[in-house]
Each structure stands twice: as C-alpha cells, then as structure tokens.
C-alpha cells in the first residue's frame, strides 16, 4: 500500500536531487529494524523488512508542516464528516505526523496514540518532532487491546484513525468484524472511523465486505488510481452538498498550509451506496476466519 508512495518518492528523489539517502539513525526493535533516513530535505522513518524497505512516515526538514504522503492528506477528508473533534484515537503512530497536525488544528482536543512498538514512539519523538503534552498522549499497546479496554471504561471518540498496516504485514486481528464492532462501540454518536488501507489485492473485497457488515455504507477516499484508500465509516448521515461545500470553505484555509487540498480530496470521496465494488457473496473476515496476509496478493 505504501509501496507506491515509496516508489514515487524514490523516483522523484532520484530525478530531482543527486543527494544520496543517508541513514542517520537505526534501531532494532522487538518487531523490526527501524531506520531514519535523510535524503536532501526529506527525512523518512523506514521499516527494514525482509523483502524491501517501506517508508512509514516522512517529513520535509525545512517545512515540517507540509505533509509528504498522499494518504496522510486523504485522512483529513474525515473532517468533512464530523464537527470539530474533541477526542481522537490514533492506532499506529508512525512518525506521529497525524497526531501533530491534529493537535495543531485542534489544540484543545484530547489525542491518544496507541502504538505497539516502543521503539517507534522513541524515534517519532527524537526525529519527527512528535509532540506529547497534557492533551496528546501515547501508549505502548496493541490497538485491539487498547480499544477493548477503552470500551470497558466506556470511553468515546469522535475520530478513530486506524493506521496500523505497514504494507508488508497485516495484523490479522485488526481487520475482523469483531474488531470493527469494538471500534463502533467506542465511537461517540457523531464519531467516525478513518482507516488507511488497501486499494488493490484480493483483500480489498474482503475488507470492504467486512466494513460494510459492521458500519453499513461507507466512503472510500482515493485520489489516484492504485494508491492507498482511506475508508470513512460509522457516520449516521451523509452530509448534503451544501454542508460539504460550507465545510470545505471553512476548513480549506486551515488545511492548505499542510498541503491538503480539501476540494480535490472531496472529489475523490465515493460512497459505497452508489458503488458497491465487491461481489455480494464476499466472505466477511472474522476472528474465526481472517487469513488476511494470505489474501493480500
């Protein structure tokens, strides 16, 4: 999924600069090797895995506000579906980019980050200016366990962002009907979930069917073919055209400093209500049946 983004970055880096990527930090964690690489103005967090290196998060050193990855920008389509979020939960920290931007946009919002790998949190703090304070916290925990515990404590979130897939390996317990039901149980009445996920492979259909089974119709956000898609689900009603237009007008000036073109993104939003692009008999993934990694080819 971030394959293409990484390829694109690699290609542009090759074409535009002669500067070679330099590893400025590497760290071995329980789960993987983590590298921080600098290439000219671009600093990236990479996971060094068997098959290839995948960029998890990148920032421009001279313009840290400017978002690098398209999928990060697409995630902000969520703001067209909700009022100002007050409680945000992010599963999968990466470089902490989403957390930082949301904190800048909504300084009063409580933002909780759940990340399974403590080394990722450390690298985000040290190299990607990940901000933590009395509003923004991070916790080393599996996303599924975090949400189960949050549900027991009857916590509610206006915005749950699921960004836990790194492209090489899918935690199979984070893509099941039961998990999505648990997410649903921690959404506030007007809350939504935004999931950064697949746009190709056989898993696309299974994942779509699973989201649909739990949340009903949802929105796919995707601006380029064969790149990531963001799933927006859990909303009660689709906003009307006028509501969308007024939200875009209100939010665009706030988001443009980050390189987010909300108008263009809104054009890439499509509800499954009009376009159910998976076969009706697609098997829903459950805790009992979730061979996600075997289906992802």
């Amino acid at each position: 999924m971030r394959k293409l983004a990484a390829l694109y970055l690699a290609a542009t880096a090759l074409l535009t600069t002669q500067v070679n990527a330099e590893v400025i930090h590497s760290e071995r964690s329980l789960y993987r090797n983590i590298l921080v690489e600098e290439n000219g103005d671009l600093r990236c967090l990479k996971f060094d895995e068997k098959t290839r290196m995948s960029s998890q998060s990148c920032m421009y050193i001279s313009k840290p506000k400017q978002l690098v990855f398209n999928y990060t920008k697409l995630t902000f389509a969520s703001l067209l579906m909700i009022e100002d979020p007050k409680n945000v939960l992010i599963i999968g920290l990466g470089g902490g980019t989403l957390s930082n931007v949301i904190h800048e946009l909504y300084p009063d919002a409580i933002i909780e980050n759940a990340e399974i790998d403590p080394a990722v949190i450390k690298v985000a703090r040290d190299y990607f200016a990940f901000v933590e304070n009395d509003k923004v916290t991070s916790k080393v925990q599996d996303g599924r366990i975090f949400i189960k515990r949050a549900a027991i404590k009857k916590q509610q979130y206006d915005w749950v962002i699921l960004d836990a897939f790194n492209g090489d390996y899918i935690p199979e317990h984070l893509i099941t009907k039961e998990f999505f039901e648990e997410i649903k149980s921690v959404l506030s009445p007007n809350g939504i979930v935004a999931a950064n996920t697949f746009s190709s492979s056989k898993l696309y259909q299974h994942e779509s069917a699973t989201y649909h089974a739990v949340f009903g119709d949802f929105i796919n956000v995707s601006t380029a073919k064969n790149s990531n898609r963001i799933i927006l689900a859990g909303y009660e009603h689709m906003p009307t055209e006028q509501q969308l237009a007024s939200r875009i007008a209100k939010l665009s000036p706030l988001l443009s400093p980050y390189g987010i073109d909300l108008h263009a993104i809104s054009k890439g939003m499509a509800s499954t209500k009009d376009n159910q692009d998976w076969p009706a008999d697609t098997k829903v993934l459950t805790d009992q049946y979730s061979p996600a990694n075997l289906l992802n080819f």
Partner: protein, 206 residues
C-alpha cells in the same frame, strides 16, 4: 515385527503429532483478539505446550507400566478428543473473564493458554511414551522403535503446522479446524479400541 497393529499405532502417533501442532498454531489466532499478536503471545503458548507435554510424557510413561493395552491407548485418544473441544466451545467466555481481571497481556495470555491448552496437551503428551511401550518387544530394538516413533510423530507435527497455517485457515473457521482435530483423534481412539476388541475375539475363538 511390522504388523497391522503396529502400523495403526504409528499412524495414531502421527495423527496426535499433527493435531498438537495444528492446535498450537491456532492458539495464536485464538488469543490475539484479547491479548494481541506480540511475541509474548507465542511465549505463553509455547511455554504451556512444552510444559504440558513434559508432564504428559511423565504420566504416559507411568501409565504404561500396568497392563498396557490398545484399548487403554484408544481411551487416551478419546479423552484427549473430549478435552480439546472446550477450546472451541468456551474460549470466548474464558478469555473475556481473564481479560477483565488481568491488565498485563503477558500474564493474561499465559493464564489463558493454560486454561485452554494445558489439560488437552498433557493428555496428548501421554501418547508418545505409551506408544513406545506398545511397540517395544525386545531391548535391542527399543531405541530403534523409539526413534521410529519420534520420526512419525514429529513428521506429523511438521505437517500439522504447515497444512494448518498454509491451507486450513484459508478454508475453514478456527473453531471448525479445532473440532476437526478433536473428531480425528476421537475417531482414531475408537478405532484402536475396536481393533483391540476384535483381536481379543479372534484370540478367544482361536
């Protein structure tokens, strides 16, 4: 020395090895929704399996001293089959209870693995030494028999691991696979008992 009864014993030992590793592999799947998929999950599962197999070997060896028979051997399989079933039937409430009482997912997963896998794996562990007892006829060949037995049961384990993880999880629900294993070892147990009683009848008529 390689008669039909011995072939049956080897086949049963193979199947128990197959089932043990198939179940162990699914353990990770079963625990993940409550305790995550981190390395400590496998720590818990493998610890419990190794520990219960070790107790099973001890118990099976002890049990083989007094009047060993194919019927008793079959009963071990039947009992194992019954004890495997709760993994499919009660895993959910058991894990819910543990999850709500233990915050630390390391100890939560250790306790959950113990609750689900300890007893069935002890019983499955009894099979190996009992098989040796049934197969060994003279001291010279005892090492060879034990070696052959380790060979088939470990080969079964290897195949149980790969077939479960590569193919069965794509085709079936976790619980269906568990129930499949229980059915397999239960029917083999019945088969052993049936073969033994037929053989006894033959002896009686002879």
């Amino acid at each position: 020395m390689f008669n039909k009864t011995n072939a049956l014993i080897y086949f049963l030992a193979f199947s128990s090895g197959f089932s043990i590793m198939g179940i162990e592999l699914l353990g990770g799947r079963i625990l993940a929704p409550f305790f995550g998929s981190s390395v400590h999950i496998w720590g818990s599962i493998i610890t419990v399996f190794m520990l219960s197999l070790s107790f099973g070997y001890l118990l099976g060896g002890k049990m083989s001293i007094r009047q060993p028979s194919l019927t008793k051997y079959g009963l071990i399989f039947l009992l194992a089959s019954i004890m495997v079933l709760p993994i499919a039937l009660f895993a959910q409430p058991i894990m819910e209870f543990i999850f709500s009482h233990i915050e630390d997912s390391r100890y939560g997963s250790l306790l959950a693995s113990t609750a689900l896998f300890f007893i069935p794996t002890i019983i499955l562990g009894m099979i190996s030494p009992y098989s040796v007892r049934l197969l060994v006829t003279d001291r010279e060949r005892s090492g060879q028999v034990a070696g052959g037995l380790y060979f088939v049961s470990t080969l079964g384990s290897a195949l149980g691991t790969i077939i479960t993880s590569f193919y069965m999880v794509l085709a079936f629900d976790v619980n269906s696979i568990i129930i499949g294993f229980a059915t397999l070892i239960g029917s083999l147990g019945l088969l052993a008992i049936a073969v033994d009683s037929l053989a006894k009848k033959e002896v009686a008529y002879a």
